[in-house]
Subunit: 470 residues, 4 copies
Amino acid sequence: MHIKSSIHANCGVVGVYGHPDAAQLTYLCLYALQHRGQEGAGIVSSSGTEFKFHRAMGLVSDIFSDVNILHELEGTIAIGHNRYSTTGENKIENVQPLVMNLKDGPIAVSHNGNLINSKSLRSTLMKQGSIFQTSSDSEVIVHLIARSQKNTLKDRIKEAILQLSGAYSLVLMTRNTLAAVRDPKGFRPLCVGKKDNAYIITSESCALDLIEAKYVRDVQPGELIIINENGIHSEMIFTPEKTAACIFEYIYFSRPDSRVFGEYVDKTRRKFGKTLAEEKPADGDIVISVPDSSNTAALGYSQKSNIKFEIGLIRNHYIGRTFIHPIQSQRDFNVLIKFNPVGGVLKDRRVVIVEDSIVRGTTLKKLVKMVRDAGAKEVHIRVSSPPIISPCYYGMDFPTKEELIANNKSVEEIRQFLNVDSLEYFSLEGLLNSVKNGITHFCTACFSGEYPIPLKEDFSKDQYESKNKS
Amino acid sequence: MHIKSSIHANCGVVGVYGHPDAAQLTYLCLYALQHRGQEGAGIVSSSGTEFKFHRAMGLVSDIFSDVNILHELEGTIAIGHNRYSTTGENKIENVQPLVMNLKDGPIAVSHNGNLINSKSLRSTLMKQGSIFQTSSDSEVIVHLIARSQKNTLKDRIKEAILQLSGAYSLVLMTRNTLAAVRDPKGFRPLCVGKKDNAYIITSESCALDLIEAKYVRDVQPGELIIINENGIHSEMIFTPEKTAACIFEYIYFSRPDSRVFGEYVDKTRRKFGKTLAEEKPADGDIVISVPDSSNTAALGYSQKSNIKFEIGLIRNHYIGRTFIHPIQSQRDFNVLIKFNPVGGVLKDRRVVIVEDSIVRGTTLKKLVKMVRDAGAKEVHIRVSSPPIISPCYYGMDFPTKEELIANNKSVEEIRQFLNVDSLEYFSLEGLLNSVKNGITHFCTACFSGEYPIPLKEDFSKDQYESKNKS
Amino acid sequence: MHIKSSIHANCGVVGVYGHPDAAQLTYLCLYALQHRGQEGAGIVSSSGTEFKFHRAMGLVSDIFSDVNILHELEGTIAIGHNRYSTTGENKIENVQPLVMNLKDGPIAVSHNGNLINSKSLRSTLMKQGSIFQTSSDSEVIVHLIARSQKNTLKDRIKEAILQLSGAYSLVLMTRNTLAAVRDPKGFRPLCVGKKDNAYIITSESCALDLIEAKYVRDVQPGELIIINENGIHSEMIFTPEKTAACIFEYIYFSRPDSRVFGEYVDKTRRKFGKTLAEEKPADGDIVISVPDSSNTAALGYSQKSNIKFEIGLIRNHYIGRTFIHPIQSQRDFNVLIKFNPVGGVLKDRRVVIVEDSIVRGTTLKKLVKMVRDAGAKEVHIRVSSPPIISPCYYGMDFPTKEELIANNKSVEEIRQFLNVDSLEYFSLEGLLNSVKNGITHFCTACFSGEYPIPLKEDFSKDQYESKNKS
Amino acid sequence: MHIKSSIHANCGVVGVYGHPDAAQLTYLCLYALQHRGQEGAGIVSSSGTEFKFHRAMGLVSDIFSDVNILHELEGTIAIGHNRYSTTGENKIENVQPLVMNLKDGPIAVSHNGNLINSKSLRSTLMKQGSIFQTSSDSEVIVHLIARSQKNTLKDRIKEAILQLSGAYSLVLMTRNTLAAVRDPKGFRPLCVGKKDNAYIITSESCALDLIEAKYVRDVQPGELIIINENGIHSEMIFTPEKTAACIFEYIYFSRPDSRVFGEYVDKTRRKFGKTLAEEKPADGDIVISVPDSSNTAALGYSQKSNIKFEIGLIRNHYIGRTFIHPIQSQRDFNVLIKFNPVGGVLKDRRVVIVEDSIVRGTTLKKLVKMVRDAGAKEVHIRVSSPPIISPCYYGMDFPTKEELIANNKSVEEIRQFLNVDSLEYFSLEGLLNSVKNGITHFCTACFSGEYPIPLKEDFSKDQYESKNKS
């Protein structure tokens, strides 16, 4: 899976407590989590008396390229966020962390996931006189905390969280406290690390590696962690229920060198490739991947099937922010500028392409044509996930049901559409067997249409906000 | 009065209802009101279903220099604001109009003046869970409207306004309504005009002239005006009380070609000059002004005294946004770059300088030196207002009491400080007689220390906000 | 004269030799000369071994607003330039000083004036293989110096200068030398000042005043001045001829507080006003000026005629860089945004407007309408210069002959066009008598059509350059 | 080889003749050649009567991201350039194509390579009065053409080219002609393609693939090609001599899917890997590459050695323009942010790293540490090129001799420095045998110190230019 307009959504969240370089460490963690969101990023630090923050559209390293910006984010506590929008308009106002002033001081929030009852909560709050600043569903959380008349921050957060429904891995900060919450289904990953005496909260463990921190454990589904001068405090605030971890984190979204939901992603993806090779063999001369997202699955497929692994497509890494297409008539252009086929490798070969998933299928169709134009004798596709037939309401940015090719076409019709000699998907059973670890249950709604939390709200695009160019 | 760090504060507000070029007319009005605030400006328009807005730091003509911006501000209702900060930090978040989303749609507010009970109102609202976005005192007004559970917009605005204390000339807009309010003391000007079938609300009448609209009347102290599809509706929402119009609008702040508080500014200023000439004559060869603010008063002084009016100082209009002072050792620099003395006019003359007011006196001291260096034989200063001894809490940006020269020195001491041969101030009695019109009572707190509304809050700088660089 | 599209052209040049703050002083001088060109500016300094420079479009104070820029322009010699384009396209490449590398090191040149044989010189140089970087006529001078095979810099400059024809007040700099040249006709002003041991060369003496330097003397027509470690060296490099100083410098262009061609501008302009009052009296109640350019002449007219001087038009100084005209249908807009009529002054009066010159007449026509709309009973115009009937080829940016109103219409026809009750121009004789000083002869080609140097080249717009957006 | 401060230099050049979308095709070719230079890029087009151009610092897709820019580059002829500086300062003035105005119209030049006699040519030209605009060695070429008094463009180009010494693959354009020249040694690649009736000149054939043009043939060493309305004309302007094609184009620089010097790069690199496996076997469990530059060689090594190929390092592609290093104390940071080790793959394995070349060795040392930290039991390095002992004067941006690790240390010392269990380089003989094709002779000066053209000039950094911030 590889083209912007299809899946990648989700976000990255980070929190650091108790380190003199809190903002710097947050910055490095955000950099490590860049794959979780390239639209914008921000860091808020607390000096103990006030908050400092910087948020902007763009890549983490560009946003913080001015050497002075990080120095101004002083303090020993900081939180950060990488944004890839799922709801709300894509504008600077929605770049997190959210920062708002409550009666007892400022609060900052970073949210990964997607609430499914934010509209009704928002409507109720506005009727009571709350004024919303953004179109983000995350702002609801802060208003709920602001409205709570409980005595302690912990109790106010609890009261707010218990009203939420959906997917949320949250990091919150006040002047002297860092908090982390994961929804009771555990849709999105979140883990705790330690570097010297500092605590780190992060979406994926690869961020801990970059800052040479130690992975401690995952934040548990339904767990609220509070870290302050009294140390670290944990509380399970929900009745335990069956989890629904997003299996797409393994298939495509998480970084291969991360450990999420208790297992290394790279190892799991290789297992997908191997099991797929057994389940859906192919008669080919070479196995190639669609770089970089299906590299590991393709290598696993090659190793189990004993078909030679080759680099048949080279990914162009100089695309820049915006690539205009100067000549409208040229077909298949977005594929041509992203991938270069290696003629010598593909010519006269029976090529097995291992792909991690198929959303709309339009890009893959162009890639297949490119591979054929480079001289491939046969093209066989093996997909390391089942057909995607339903949208995700918990954070993955899939298109509407109508745009999902597997919702409209049979496997044979997709094969014809892609113009390949054979096409096979991984079975849901094979997929789940490859990750079975006895503890975690996964959300497979995109493959099965069975949603772990029933939807009650309309999910067409929100219209809360007036447009502006401030 | 002429140097940035001393007096000019205040703001300009505009509202237009019922014109296809509502944003364009608002823009022109803001341009005409540019003297009321050069820090930033903004316009919000309503298309009937949504708001569009553009706000930025800088001059009106620069902010809207891109020809497309105004075109995008579509709709037949619009409000605008020129900002010169009095409370709150000088940052883009505080540039008005404020735009916020209430339960029944967006609202926009432009505020000229200064509330004196905003801290206590803000504190109460935050305790109830309201979340503030800016450090501006104007935001309190919107939260009060949001909290009101009254049924109609008019009643919600009324409930909110009745809780305010201080100076406010307000323009408010919802999707289909324009409203205007002036505080019961009538500190700041606000008037109504008409252009064809459209209504215009503006701080000063000079804005009506630029758009070739007709001046209708002033908004009355304590009056709430609502304009919507049912026409224009007026209601006096306060018990009538003695007014306190800011006399500094006549002395310095308003544009000479405006009519405020029922009289032309230019005419009033000339009267000041003439009466001053009678009250405090001077023995000189020529009368000069400090351009451009005391031009009219100086001309009046010259005409009544029969001392020849001359242009002895030329103002430099190419200063640009920022003028760095490259050589620290050069004395009196900020005066040198603003004014050029005309040697041929000043040399060997006894010069009477008419100045509108003296705040700190530092700039005037440098001007006097410049005039002496150009060869003046004697220098006499006549000030067309009384000594300023007290700060303003209703919108004029005077410095602290300690920095006001007349608060610390006698007139003779000021004369010595300025190094002039004679110095005379206008008497408060002479000033008030020159504006006496039987209806309006004026606030003269800066000259007398007697404040029309007693202060209950501390007026040191606010600290609500965390710092940011979003 | 007051509207951009008509006359103001010309440039400002500055040179400083032998001061540790050479670039800072140059900056201040350019600021004082800002009226000579607002399109762009630049400074080049020499550290003795290398040149540093900064050039940009815009106002001097904005271009050098970053406090570090001047600090980086190190060295004790510097030259500067304010540009208002006369030939060549208006783009950053043409902003001076020109800096080019010759065989024995870099050279920088600032040029005020306009060559009339630059096309033929350029053509010859290109045939010999010279490559031009700009479309500016000034670049020809540098190529001529580069081509010279003379032994000393002075001789190379001389050889180059002797080939030029037209108007040029030049400042040149090499690593360790400052040079100044004025053409043998002396069209444009140029003077020498001293501050401590440093020498200053500048277009007008007002720049010397701002930096508290002493005016020494004018650079003479045909004089070459070389300043280096051996001191100041002067040489008259042309056979003496009758001068042709631009009388428009007195009428409109130079700053009133400058001394040019040996006399104060303000004093000369007042003389114009007084003589005009005698020569062309008017029957009016008040005299007003078109601020600020005709202020002094109007005051002189008032004093001699005993008609009361009034401020009937106020100039708006907040126009900013670009003012878009949002509503096309509004008539006379460019005048409305620049001037505010003072109703109380003009109403029911017979108004005498003193204007310095009339180019196209379109703006003045709108001003007259504005004055009438404000209630003036009669409007009489007195112009402190004769009718302009011919373009200027020596630096003033007049339009083509066809666009000059006095070239197409009689005085009576202009009066009707302007819709005034009477219109009178200053006579050429009266003008010349007012400046007669026995030494200087003036160029009056724009009034008489008699050009002091005959034209041999076509003066339609150049087309040397390809367009670019580098 | 992979770190910016070491090798990658060189440039990319493009020319298009006879296509209505000439600038668009040039843009796409530059995009395909982005790997040859990321510092800046530019395009110049000829409409037949004038040139249009746009040049800027940055990536091709960012420079031309505004959709209007390409549209303004009208005409059917265009040339382009991707810059990676080798001599001259890195500033916008040096971004090519150079555009200059000669006597018979404008000329534009794109140059890949490096002249070794530019200093003496430049010095002679300046003595004759030529004025240089840039510090680029390429400008010499244009001045030589400008100085030539030959009658035809072809003869002027010939006269100029015959005076050059060094490496140059040039594309030149006048209003109606496209020309291409390759130096007689053929250091840098250059080829001709065709798309419909249009001719394309480009550094590498991958650019032809992107625009779906057909590869025709290489421009021959010493060949001058002229394309105009009379068709394509070729002339060998030098006496034939032994070629010296840069073998580093195969080892590292060219794109794997290009065909240069008559052979596919990918195929050649795989051959390097295979031959290296035979020549320098290794005792390991897995072979990994340093992505992406040594991917193909590593795959070749794996296939010939039968040691399993694995993805042990993942390259981070979100680095952005500038990555600041916020915590100085963290070691090995630039490697950590570029590469993520895959723990599951490396742990407890004997790892063979195939690297394309070693320049300073500092980055590789950090990579080795990263691999060891990830648990590798042994680390063996095999380099697919011989030790680099001498700088390149023909375009590759190697550091000074002193900084080249192989110049200072024996292979055993380098092994110790890198802290690996074994280190073996490819032999020069093995390398040359792998590319032997009977026709092309290669420059191997960086491995042997034997330069095909003797050096006569000093190659320390140039100092022609004054610094500026225009």
